[in-house]
């Protein structure tokens, strides 16, 4: 039975997907939490940067690091090369720090957290009480942990609300906490790794993030440890006119393994909101990191009003030999997405993989892809990108595969498939390939197809209604990527795929 259920998920659409489509409106996370907030004044300047640092009770070196980043940022220009269009962002008309008043004194445990906040996450379907993620499983202590429990760090606007399973993780030597806590408690690790993958001056948004990031998650897995459960962070933007700038730092020490999930939602608002995150992953010798994202920020309404502008820098550095990183992303939300999770394959025999589903409907725009930088010998990378456009949306895959002179015998395989629903949307593929040695090989395949009327009619003749038929065909199209997700997320992702395309046909 259990085995069959698994195949069902991996094979394509499931009844639950279909039910979800029926039950749920276009964006199911559009509500907001009425909670008293404390804001820093609007705009960004050195005082705001100092204030954020102070609120987080940071040491002097961190404040200096931020101020240097801010100084740098003032000299930078917003990049314009992506195939996305949006009104000029007034960076001084945003709040850069917002936290629930009840978080003023840091709660010592989850029991002390404002019930309203806990209720918010509960409503989002995210368990903050330490519990088994699979319903009906009792006796958490004795059960084999693998694949059963998910430790959660919940970030609400600018602050981390709480992190579950910290004690149990500690037993294995795994550190999983908010980044602000890590800066206070583990400065040696933070100092060593922060900004070492995404330098402060990397790009406009990353630099801004370095100056004003307020919270985020921190993971350290010690040598030889296989993290006993999935780790995850749920980001929720609640406050209006507030940008969320989170910072995630994941360090997998020699021979360790960790799987990390990230989920994002935001209320439905008329005004666009900014989200500029930075994720850095360090993978040492023989270590492996899986990083999965289900991004479901508010996409704006069907006329393109509101929504999240998602400008994110994610990069993994495979420093050690035989290290491995795998990015999997399901991007269904945001009005504008600008995001290229990348792998630096520095160690010999290191491997990078990127699996992506980007869905754009209505007026959404996505410019997303990856960079695979092959530096070490015998390095391998694999890119599977599925872009789905409906309505008047534009979807661009932009990727770089670079083989450096020393990256002898390296391999890349890239597959970019685009699926169009209707005739007012667009799909674009922009691959860059640079090979600077003669023993490496790159393969690139790209296809563009339309949801075929014959396929839909075939499904409908067998009894499925139109939305069910579209969900089935699209889930089939995405199968390679959905398979790469951890079980718990695969279900959610399937439902999201169906929901995001609601009303796109007919």
């Amino acid at each position: 039975m259990a085995a069959l259920d698994q195949t069902q998920v991996k094979e394509g659409v499931d009844q639950e997907t279909v039910d979800a489509v029926r039950e749920v409106g276009a964006y199911k996370y559009g509500w907001d939490t009425d909670i008293e907030m404390e804001y820093a004044p609007k705009g960004v300047n050195p005082d705001i940067v100092r204030l954020i640092s102070e609120k987080n009770e940071e040491p002097e070196w961190m404040t200096e690091w931020r101020l240097a980043a801010f100084e740098r940022w003032t000299q930078m220009k917003e990049p314009k090369w992506a195939m996305v269009h949006y009104p000029e962002i007034d960076f001084q008309d945003q709040y850069y720090y917002a936290r629930p008043k009840s978080m003023e004194t840091k709660p010592k445990s989850l029991d002390e957290v404002d019930p309203k906040l806990l209720a918010t996450y509960e409503k989002l379907g995210i368990p903050l009480k330490e519990q088994m993620i699979l319903a009906g499983v009792e006796g958490a202590e004795d059960a084999p942990a693998e694949g059963r429990k998910v430790a959660v760090d919940a970030v609400f606007d600018s602050v981390s609300v709480g992190t579950t399973f910290q004690e149990e993780l500690k037993k294995h030597g795994v550190i999983f906490c908010s980044i602000s806590e890590a800066i206070r408690e583990h400065p040696e690790l933070v100092k060593k790794y922060l900004g070492s993958v995404v330098p402060v001056s990397d790009n406009f948004y990353a630099t801004l993030n370095s100056a004003v990031f307020s919270d985020g998650s921190f993971v350290y897995v010690p040598p030889g440890v296989r993290c006993p459960m999935e780790l995850s962070t749920y980001f929720r933007i609640n406050a209006e006119n507030t940008g969320q700038f989170e910072r995630t730092l994941i360090i997998a020490d020699k021979g360790s393994y960790v799987s990390y999930l990230e989920g994002c939602t935001a209320p439905q608002r008329d005004t666009a909101q900014l989200h500029a995150a930075v994720v850095e992953i360090i993978v040492e010798e023989d270590a492996e990191v899986k990083y999965s994202t289900v991004q479901n920020w508010f996409p704006g309404d069907e006329n393109g009003k509101g929504g999240i502008y998602n400008f994110v820098t994610k990069r993994a550095d495979c420093r050690g030999d035989r290290s491995k990183v795998m990015w999997t992303q399901v991007e269904t939300g945001s009005a504008v997405t600008w995001k290229y999770p990348s792998c630096i394959l520095r160690g010999d025999d290191s491997q990078g993989e990127f699996y992506s589903i980007a869905i754009t409907n209505n007026m959404q725009q996505a410019d997303t892809g990856t960079k695979m930088i092959h530096l070490g010998k015998n390095t391998k990378s694999r890119i599977v990108s599925k872009g789905i456009s409906a309505g008047k949306a534009q979807n661009t895959y932009r990727g770089l595969v670079s083989m450096h002179p020393k990256a002898k015998n390296s391999r890349n395989y890239t597959q970019c498939d685009s699926l169009l629903i209707g005739d007012k949307c667009g799909a674009h593929t922009v691959p860059y390939i640079e090979v600077r040695n003669n023993s490496s090989r790159c393969e690139h395949e790209a296809t563009t197809s339309k949801v075929d009327d014959d396929q839909l009619f075939y499904c409908r003749q067998r009894g499925m209604d139109e939305e069910e038929a579209v969900a089935l065909v699209v889930n089939g199209f995405c199968k390679d990527v959905l398979q790469a997700l951890p079980m718990e997320f695969a279900m959610e992702a399937q439902q999201l795929v169906a929901i995001s395309l609601e009303g796109s046909v007919g």
Binding site: T7, Q461, G476
Partner: protein
């Protein structure tokens, strides 16, 4: 059961009349065959009955057990019990055959207010039915019709039919592209479903399928109309003399 009266159909996009007054009644428990030369409108009839886009009914009616088919969406017709075995079964990459079947079965059950089949019951049922059609477990796991041989595709259609248990089955040139052995398998599958409550409309070019699926009534269709109706002997006549004689006789 299936009642078609004076059905006139033209293409939606161009001014081309395809069906020019088809009258046909298929009773429960009976197998009717429609034969006819290429372009006579046989496939169009099957598409119009099942609700494919691109056709416009200009006159006439089609009902199944008294329900007006032409007013319904394709999936509503399916839930009423109308099944079309496609001449060219469609490939759906990435969607497992089993998932497809289960989604279809449960979608119809839901519309009819029946409880969904549990995963275990469904699996048991599929395996049993697949076995009689010599469909192995591997074929059930593979994506729908992707990389299937001609014979596998047609057997898969019959498997879907067996799982959905429709009242009225239309087989559109199910014999095309089949060798003798494959045709025998398909025919056996169809014969196993023959039942007093179920009607069949078998569209075919050739008599040979009708050696295996014995029809009660044979119709000859030409130029958008049924021009002659008779018993199984009519199919044999076509086999021996071709359509020319019959068409000459009608004209």
């Amino acid at each position: 059961m299936l009642e078609i009266k004076n059905l006139h159909v033209k293409l939606e996009e161009e001014d081309k009349q395809i069906l020019k007054g088809v009258d046909l009644t298929v009773e429960a428990g009976k197998v009717h065959a429609i034969m006819g030369p290429n372009g006579s409108g046989k496939s169009t009839l099957s598409y119009v009955l099942s609700g494919r886009d691109g056709y416009e009914v200009t006159e006439g009616s089609a009902t199944l057990d008294g329900e007006d088919l032409l007013e319904l969406e394709p999936e509503e017709r399916a839930a009423l019990g109308l099944f079309l075995a496609f001449q060219y079964p469609v490939e759906i990459p990435g969607v497992g055959n089993m998932t497809f079947l289960r989604t279809a079965v449960n979608a119809q059950r839901k519309v009819r207010g029946e409880e969904e089949l549990s995963a275990a019951d469904f699996l048991k049922l599929v395996r049993a039915k697949a076995k009689t059609l010599k469909i192995d477990a591997d074929m059930l796991k593979r994506p729908v019709n992707v990389g299937f041989s001609g014979g596998e595709k047609k057997r898969n259609e019959i498997l879907q039919m067996a799982m959905l248990e429709p009242k009225m089955c239309i087989l559109d040139e199910t014999d095309s592209g089949l060798d003798v052995d494959a045709m025998k398998l398909v025919a056996d599958g169809v014969n196993a479903l023959r039942d007093e409550g179920r009607g069949f409309l078998v569209i075919t070019h050739y008599q040979r399928l009708l050696d295996h699926i014995k029809p009660d009534v044979v119709h000859i269709m030409a130029n958008g109309r049924i021009v002659k109706t008779g018993g199984p002997e009519l199919a044999l006549e076509v086999e021996h003399n071709g359509y020319a004689d019959i068409l000459a006789e009608v004209n």
